[in-house]
Amino acid sequence: MSDQIPTTTSAAETMTGAAGADAAVEVRGLNKQFQTASGIVHALEGIDLTVEAGEFVSLIGPSGCGKSTLMRLIADLDVPTSGELTVFGKTATQARLDQDYGIAFQQAGLLPWRTVAANVALPLELHGVASAARRTRVADLLEMVGLTEFADRFPDQLSGGMQQRVAIARSLAEQPRLLLMDEPFGALDEMTREKMQTDLVRIAADTGAAVVFVTHSIPEAVFLSDRVVVMSPRPGRISDIIPMRLDAAEGREERDDDLREASSFFEMVTEVREALHGGASDGENPAPRAARGVDTR
């Protein structure tokens, strides 16, 4: 995990990115069906997607479009029905066993009997990191999420936002090259949410990690991402992949609160919204997109 990944990968570069072996996530013709009492549910159908190393990709769509399912398949928490899925050129299972990704869920999922510090240390502990190294790393992580003075508190003494920051610190504990996040800010109030988004952009840029970020907030997706993957439900499909062209942000570390008020930001928000509602935005988009989903229109 020592090799450094380039921290900036602009949208223009990733658009042409052919499926290299070092892509963070490579998905080809992926299907996922669930067997339920009322029959087979097609959660995902014909998903094609490439996430380059260091790229920030958001999955957005209405409830039931399979965005969380797609993330769980990448994390090897569920098994696809058919199709190909590789993470850093390996099978999803191997990537999980090799701890190639860090993960954060909508619920913080902290262990309530462990202190904040012990929660962040959990993955390090499970993977046999020596206790001295563990302590240093945990201290660094808590400082990064601004919770140093809460290290010895228990999760139930923290607010929801703070718990979520602990969960994010935990997901970064082993400096993963890929971060999987399933609506991690979904339960937070708007103020905390914006702060966490700004922090996440900074952290992702600092660590050079690729991020797959599930959300149903359009501004959140636009603010964070290099590309936004728009999905539609029943069956879950990728209906559009929109590269973000935000003038203010050449590299991700440039993104700050000013961007939220830039006109390019609102243009992108509009574009994503139209794609979500099935509006025609074809003509506006730059033509060839390598990792284009199945077009349902």
Partner: protein, 281 residues
């Protein structure tokens, strides 16, 4: 912010007092001790009055003072009997707890083990365990305490097994996903997630089992085996019409049962106060 409600609910069942608006917390905490003590004294006074003045035969219902006198007179015998029965109960409780927790872990891990053991557990739960006493006593000989300890162990095993198994099934999906994402081994899963989640349930099981262990160890003594325990002394005193002495041993049995209950309640509170059990999101 949610707090550790599960733990509070479990402990709360023990204290149970609801707060009145009329009294200050200080008055209330004093009352909580004073009220039951007063009631006890009143009951003892009425009892004493009925026997000495009211004409109830002292032979049928010994007065509190004569019971106290017997207790003092036979103090060494009472102490040694309490220690003997207490040791049997404690050994039974310890063995029953260990077996209960280990077998619940096995049943939680392998579904087939759960399905195989379910009818046996159900049978153990409904059969009066002391019914085994005569059988075990003759199996292990008349001078062995083993039969009584085994009965205490079987009696405490059931609630601990059932509670622990329930506790093992309380792990939340997000925590299981997390451990899977970390590629945790099944041993790590047990140590880091399943056991801590089940901890309040295990402790509740032990608290319930503690009283059962004392009761069954004591009652098992009624069915033969070596003399000397509280149960056998109650039986022999009653048989020789020494009712005051029998009552003195009954008093010691109550004290022993309370001691076990309070000790396990204290253990439960101590562990759960130091370590929160719920409330994270």
């Amino acid at each position: 912010m949610t707090t550790n409600t599960t733990a509070n609910a479990i402990i709360g069942a023990g204290t149970g007092a609801t707060r009145s608006k009329d009294w200050s917390p200080r008055t209330e905490s004093i009352l909580r001790v004073v009220a039951p003590v007063t009631l006890g004294i009143i009951v003892l006074a009425i009892w004493q009055f009925l026997v000495t003045v009211g004409g109830v035969s002292d032979y049928l219902l010994p007065s509190p003072t004569s019971i106290m006198a017997e207790l003092v007179a036979y103090w060494p015998a009472v102490v040694s009997a309490t220690v003997l029965t207490g040791t049997n109960s404690l050994l039974g409780l310890l063995v029953g707890s260990l077996l209960g927790i280990i077998l619940a872990a096995v049943a939680a891990r392998w579904r087939i083990a759960d399905q195989m053991s379910a009818p046996i557990i159900a049978a153990l739960a409904v059969v009066p365990i002391v019914a085994l006493a005569p059988v075990l006593n003759s199996m292990f000989g008349a001078d062995s305490q083993f039969g009584r300890q085994a009965i205490a162990a079987i009696a405490s095993f059931v609630p601990i097994f059932i509670n622990t198994l329930r506790g093992f099934r309380q792990t939340r999906p997000v925590h299981r996903d997390l451990m899977k994402a970390y590629a945790a081994s099944s041993g790590q899963m047990l140590r880091s997630l399943t056991l801590p989640t089940a901890r309040p349930f295990i402790l509740t099981g032990i608290r319930i089992a503690s009283s059962l262990a004392v009761i069954s160890a004591l009652v098992a003594e009624y069915f033969g085996g070596p003399r000397g325990g509280l149960g056998s002394l109650i039986a022999t005193s009653a048989a020789s019409s020494a009712y005051s002495r029998a009552w003195a041993y009954v008093g010691a049995s109550i004290a022993l049962g309370l001691l076990f209950y309070l000790a396990t309640l204290a253990l439960e509170r101590l562990v759960l106060r130091r370590v929160p059990t719920g409330g994270s999101r």
